[in-house]
């Protein structure tokens, strides 16, 4: 069981992701934008961050950049949820320090398969 932080400004996506992960036995925290996620991550150490890219207040790329500066999150896997299959957006996330990405739309099964890759 891992502690996972799911960040998305869309409530339905958040629900879906959270429901899927909880169903697989993980402990899930939700945040609706980067700023909220950053606060949560600072007070709760998580094992994996799943974040949307386009969000108000603080976007996913900035969130990852900010998290990577924290000593506790130097090596934590962070995945972006992106609708862009183009390399630009993926690379933007990678340059900020993201571990990898999941391309939307994804099914619950795809989600679980992907996070298995980083949770080891």
């Amino acid at each position: 069981m891992a502690k996972i932080l799911a960040v998305d400004d869309s409530a339905s996506m958040r629900q879906m992701v959270s429901f899927t992960l909880k169903g697989a036995g993980h402990d899930v925290m939700e945040a609706c934008d980067g700023a909220e996620a950053l606060k949560l991550a600072q007070t709760n150490q998580v094992d994996l961050v799943l974040t949307d890219v386009n969000m108000p207040n603080m976007d996913g790329v900035t969130l990852i950049k900010e998290l990577r500066t924290l000593p506790n999150y130097k090596f934590t896997p962070m995945l972006t949820l992106t609708t862009e299959s183009g390399t630009d957006k993926k690379m933007e996330g990678k340059q900020a320090g993201a571990t990898g990405w999941i391309v939307k739309p994804f099914s619950p099964d795809q989600l679980l398969a992907t996070i298995k890759k980083v949770l080891g």
Partner: protein
């Protein structure tokens, strides 16, 4: 693991419709040519979320449509496309289409495929220019795959030193590889520095991996997908060389190998000869076909009403409630303790506790009511679009100003006031604001102003609709009313009375019936709706300067501030808002007109006296006016003095409907239950005044 996605639909629809509202208001606020980057970004995000959600939840047609919008918005966002009026208009239309699609999906009814594809086409034309058709896009979709059966791969994986800091871990990658087939890993430590120089967070090791089994190159590449840029990666078939994938430093070695074992290279070259397979290029047209398949009529399914009537409540309101409940629990335990041992000393404490309980209860009630309160911006938000559309249609220049958008009112009241407001704003635009040229000729700026303002006043919310148009022509209204037989030519009416005629059924002054307004129904309905909500509506106007419509509404329909009054043994409740004053009767000021109304001279005005004991057929303490009190009330512009025996306390009462529990009763708007358990009727002042007039006529 299978998850029932439909459980997320409701949330998805709610947030999507909210997103559409955000897009709409954002688009309306965009300045063509100099668009605010943050606004474009907000619109983009809304489209992006709808696309992501609809894709995930399987609403492919919605996702496809939104994708085109999103692409357009993305180009606007990164500045590669100008924000033009044309684009904004089209995007607004797309928002409408999307709203229709989502509504259709939600109610499981059919999507108007033709309409959708025509708008989608327009978007695509705007995006790619006229000549582009579907196939152009498909070309990039070609995928090249290499054929290989059972094979053995040699992978050289040399991470750059920062790899670990991206959260990737070679061990996990090896684990992934192990799922593909047999593998052997050899760790190379050549780059390992002296122990003293080691940075524990860097990666110095690199690996040679031998992987065998029925594995395609893409499968291996997929494993390394995330670290592609963060390492030197070399994947090749064992014993062979693929020139294009050999890194510079390895080349000489390979050349050497070729010389040494030319035969081996030749055979393996045959194996690796890439056979390129090209996917059919018409993928896009295929996906369009499948989209249409999906939205095929499913007429057997009934449209389900999906309005579950949920409400969004801000956290601070919920926190306040929890806080309240906490205090209530404390009070309860305090009272509980007192109840265990009652003696004379505890009486005072008991009273304190009860006072606290009362305070808690009242606060709790207020806070619960606040949950139902929403800012009026929910009702206002549709106006920018409407004004934009109407001004375009009518050729008028109109600026809409919205004030007091954060003013809160009850959700039910908000729902019921929406349509009347639309009607009034339409009227202001259609009948009030003049054409730009006419305005200029009248010495006014070409752009007309329509202002919506909302604020709290006492226990009411006041909504004002002001325009600086041509105002209401008293004479036109009057002659029209005479023509319609609403008043007679000889009637001498005040300005207010004339303006009030506008609300009479069947009254319309529009010279021509336009599709904007002027169907002659409406204003009377508007007035009736507002009356039903317990509110009133007034018009003030000055010819040539504009009009101002004021709507006054109770903040909530569930609770009322009431004045308790007593007639004989019965208690009634008069809504506090309709009471002007209460006074003792001086005999000299009462004028009884034989067979007609008793009139009371209130300062310079004569008001009819309504004897409640007569109207409701009760036994009063006394029928002599000077023995009791007169409560001066106002309802629907008319004043009257209610004759009662006594005034009792004021209190908030919870309104129970008489219609649903019994049947409608003239002169009574509802009932409530008092603290002692008895039922008290709430008086409908307007109805009561009418009722007493009728009784007098009958008596005469």
């Amino acid at each position: 693991m299978s998850i029932d996605m439909s459980q997320f639909y409701q949330t998805f629809f709610e947030e999507s419709f909210e997103g559409l509202d955000v897009m709409e208001s954002g688009l309306l606020g965009l300045d063509v040519g100099a668009a605010d980057a943050e606004t474009v970004n907000t619109i983009f995000r809304a489209a992006h979320s709808i696309k992501g959600g609809s894709g995930t939840f399987g609403f492919t047609s919605v996702a496809d449509f939104t994708h085109v919008m999103e692409t357009l918005l993305d180009e606007m966002r990164d500045g590669s496309r100008m924000v033009t009026t044309e684009a904004v208009d089209l995007l607004l239309k797309s928002v409408d289409v999307l709203r229709e699609m989502l509504t259709a999906v939600q109610s499981e009814s059919d999507i108007d495929v033709e309409h959708v594809s025509s708008i989608q086409k327009k978007l695509e034309v705007l995006l790619h220019g006229e000549s582009t058709d579907a196939e152009a896009d498909a070309e990039s979709e070609q995928s090249i795959s290499e054929d290989s059966g059972a094979s053995s791969w040699q992978i050289s994986f040399k991470p750059l030193d920062y790899l670990l800091k991206t959260g990737n871990d070679p061990v996990r990658i090896f684990k992934e590889l192990s799922l593909l087939g047999e593998y052997e890993v050899e760790c190379q430590m050549d780059n390992l520095p002296l122990f003293a120089d080691i940075d524990p967070e860097s990666c110095y090791l690199f690996w040679d991996i031998k992987l065998s089994g029925e594995i395609k190159k893409e499968q291996i590449e997929e494993v390394f997908e995330w670290v592609d840029e963060d390492c030197e990666l070399n994947i090749e078939l064992n014993g062979s060389s693929e020139d294009e994938s050999v890194t510079e430093e390895l080349k000489p070695v390979v050349e050497e190998l070729k010389e040494v074992a030319p035969v081996a290279v030749e055979t393996s070259a045959n194996v690796t000869e890439p056979t390129k397979k090209t996917e059919p290029a018409n993928e896009t047209s295929l996906s369009i076909a499948s989209t249409q398949e999906k939205v095929k009529p499913s007429t057997t399914k009934k449209a389900v009403s999906t309005d579950s009537g949920s409400i969004r409540v801000s956290i601070d309101k919920v926190d306040a409630l929890i806080n309240m409940v906490g205090e209530l629990v404390i009070t309860q335990s305090m009272l509980g303790q007192l109840g265990e041992r009652v003696d004379e000393d505890s009486l005072e404490k008991l009273q304190d506790g009860l006072a606290q309980l009362e305070r808690n209860t009242r606060e709790l009630q207020e806070n619960v009511m606040r949950i139902r309160m929403l800012p009026i911006s929910f009702a206002f938000q549709r106006f920018p679009r409407m004004v934009r559309d109407l001004s375009g249609k009518l050729g008028k220049d109109i600026e809409l100003r919205l004030l007091g958008e954060q003013t809160e009112l009850d959700k039910t009241v908000m729902e019921k006031i929406g349509d009347p407001l639309v009607h009034l704003v339409r009227n202001s635009i259609d009948h009030g604001i003049e054409m730009p040229d006419d305005r200029e000729a009248a010495g006014k700026p070409r752009t007309g102003v329509v202002e919506l303002n909302a604020f709290h006043q006492g226990g009411n919310i006041v909504i004002e609709i002001t325009d600086d148009g041509k105002g209401i022509d008293r004479d036109v209204v009057f002659s029209k009313a005479v023509e319609k037989g609403l008043v007679s030519e000889n009637d001498n009416l005040t300005d207010e009375q004339v303006y009030d005629l506008i609300f009479a059924p069947g009254f319309s002054t529009a010279k021509e019936v336009s599709d904007v307004s002027g169907r002659g129904v409406g204003m009377d309905v508007v007035k009736r709706n507002i009356r039903e909500l317990g509110g009133n509506i007034e018009i003030v106007s000055a010819k040539g300067e504009g009009s101002k419509i004021t709507i006054r509404l109770p903040l909530t329909l569930a609770i009322l501030d009431g004045q308790l009054i007593r007639v004989g043994g019965d208690t009634y409740i008069v809504p506090l808002v309709s009471i002007i004053e209460s006074l003792q009767v001086k005999a000299a000021q009462v004028n009884a007109i034989a067979g007609q109304a008793e009139l009371y001279k209130l300062r310079d005005e004569y008001i009819p006296v309504v004897r409640l004991h007569n109207v409701f057929d009760l036994k009063a303490d006394s029928e002599v006016l000077t023995d009791g009190l007169i409560v001066v009330v106002e309802g629907d512009g008319q004043r009257a003095g209610l004759f009662v025996d006594d005034l009792m306390g004021q209190q908030q009462v919870v309104i129970k409907s008489l219609e649903t529990n019994y049947r409608p009763v003239d002169g009574v708007s509802g009932a409530t239950i008092l603290g002692d358990g008895t039922v008290a009727l709430i008086l409908d002042i307007t109805g009561l005044i009418k009722l007493s007039q009728q009784e007098r006529i009958e008596a005469a």
